[in-house]
């Protein structure tokens, strides 16, 4: 409907203004009507409500690792023993593919919290359960393509480009964290 009406030469500009006003108002209306459709595909309110998760840390003994499901993703929580902490802290940054100090990855050194998804192509690395391979650096090992992560969850060997992601979290109290 973008063609112009037959020309009669009389009152041209006034008629054209109304025509343009009507067509653009209709177009604006149609555009505004699109938004509810698009927005309906955004995460719904019940999905957004699951965005935070509280985790009780008290049952996790030193040296023990647990996995929790947060936003449908696995989150590794490692109650690190002092030797693992020391290993992580004493690594030179120049040895790292994705240089990051251990202190920048933890809020309290004995608690390491990471999203357990390999940054290469999305597999879940091994190392959470007793008997699984920890890799060459005592942390985690991804069996899909051989990425090795250290005791701070940093990539040391293999195709993964970056360290395991640290999600947003906070300590509600000494024995509870809130993810997200």
């Amino acid at each position: 409907m973008a063609t112009t009406a037959p020309d009669t030469g009389e009152g041209g500009t006034r008629r054209d203004f109304i025509f343009v006003a009507a067509t653009s108002a209709a177009a604006v209306g149609a555009g505004l009507a699109v938004w509810p459709f698009v927005n309906s595909m955004n995460p719904s309110k019940d999905v957004l409500a699951e965005a935070t998760l509280e985790v009780d840390l008290s049952p996790i003994e030193e040296g023990q690792r647990i996995t929790v499901l947060w936003r449908k993703k696995p989150v590794f929580i490692d109650h690190r023993a002092p030797n693992k902490i020391a290993e992580a802290q004493n690594t030179a940054l120049s040895d790292l593919k994705d240089p990051q100090a251990d202190a920048d990855r933890v809020q309290r050194p004995e608690w390491l919290v990471m999203v357990g998804i390999c940054t290469h192509l999305g597999c879940i690395p091994q190392g959470q359960r007793v008997g699984e391979r920890l890799g060459d650096f005592g942390g985690w090992f991804c069996p899909c393509h051989g990425s090795h992560y250290d005791t701070s969850g940093r990539i040391r060997k293999g195709p993964a480009p970056t360290n395991l992601e640290v999600p947003p979290y906070s300590f509600v109290n000494d024995t509870t964290i809130q993810l997200g």
């Binding site: 009406a5 037959p6 009669t8 025509f19 009507a22 108002a25 209709a26 209306g29 309110k45 409500a49």
Partner: protein
């Protein structure tokens, strides 16, 4: 203009048809008409009275929740009736919901979180019937939409417990109600004066509690009502202006023809 008004009247007639037919479709098979009440949420600009909603929640929690579920409302929704997130969290913690199985695989319970919905008071319909003399207390979330006359019916029912007329045969265990279909309801009168203590000092008469809990339940059935009315106003204004513009365009375009 006459031909245009023809179409307008056709539209009006069909709406009237649908109205009349829709109206009569509802009228058949219900109880006596309850008294009509002036609600704050009625009308084009209707809104929910926040204090009524919160008082109504109190009534639901302390009187109705023992037997009636509210399964489609989540505790986080209570923020929309005027509670803060912290208050809603505290209200949630008054309820227990099913938790994850423990290390032996046995079921556990935990206090409710904001993201949980109101738990059913009974684990299944059979338990509900056993606890209520064979009657199944229905979930209340949609009650003002699931009954003819909606909120007026609900309020009428709550204030409609009277003595049965002399010639009425009341079955054992049943209660006479002026507005319930068939006049016999298994539920004993749930409200009595001062049954609930309102935090804002309002006197908790049966009429007050009936009005408040009905307002609350109408919100539970239509949580989007205020947004719907607000957006509706904007859309109607826009459409009326747009139709007016189209009308003017039509006049201008057709003026050229020698009619």
């Amino acid at each position: 203009m006459t031909k245009f008004t023809n179409v307008l009247s056709a539209a009006a007639v069909s709406l009237a048809l649908a109205t009349g037919l829709g109206g009569t479709a509802q009228a058949a098979g219900g109880g006596p008409q309850p008294p009509m009440h002036e609600w704050s949420f009625n009308g084009l600009f209707g809104t929910f009275d926040r204090s009524a909603l919160q008082r109504g929640y109190r009534v639901y929690k302390e009187v109705c929740a023992a037997c009636h579920g509210l399964k489609y409302i989540a505790f986080r929704n209570l923020v929309d009736i005027g509670f803060t997130e912290a208050e809603a969290k505290a209200l949630a913690e008054e309820f227990e919901v099913a938790g994850d199985p423990d290390e032996f695989g046995d079921p556990t319970t935990r206090t409710a979180k904001l993201s949980d919905t109101f738990p059913d008071p009974f684990p299944n319909p059979q338990a509900a019937r056993a606890a209520n003399g064979g009657a199944l207390p229905p979930d209340l979330t949609l009650m003002t939409k699931a009954r003819e006359y909606g909120p007026d019916y609900l309020r009428g029912l709550l204030i409609g417990y009277t003595d049965a007329p002399a010639d009425f045969e009341l079955a054992p265990g049943m209660n006479y109600n002026a507005y319930f279909s068939g006049h016999q309801i298994a539920m004993a009168p749930p409200l009595s004066d001062d049954l609930v203590e309102y935090g804002d000092g309002t006197e908790a008469t049966v009429e007050q509690m009936a009005e408040d809990v009905t307002t609350f339940l109408h919100w539970a059935a239509n949580p989007e009502l205020e947004r719907r009315h607000q957006l509706g106003f904007q859309v109607m204004i826009f459409l009326i202006l747009l139709t007016g513009l189209f009308w003017v365009v039509k006049q201008r375009v057709w003026r050229k023809l020698d009619h």
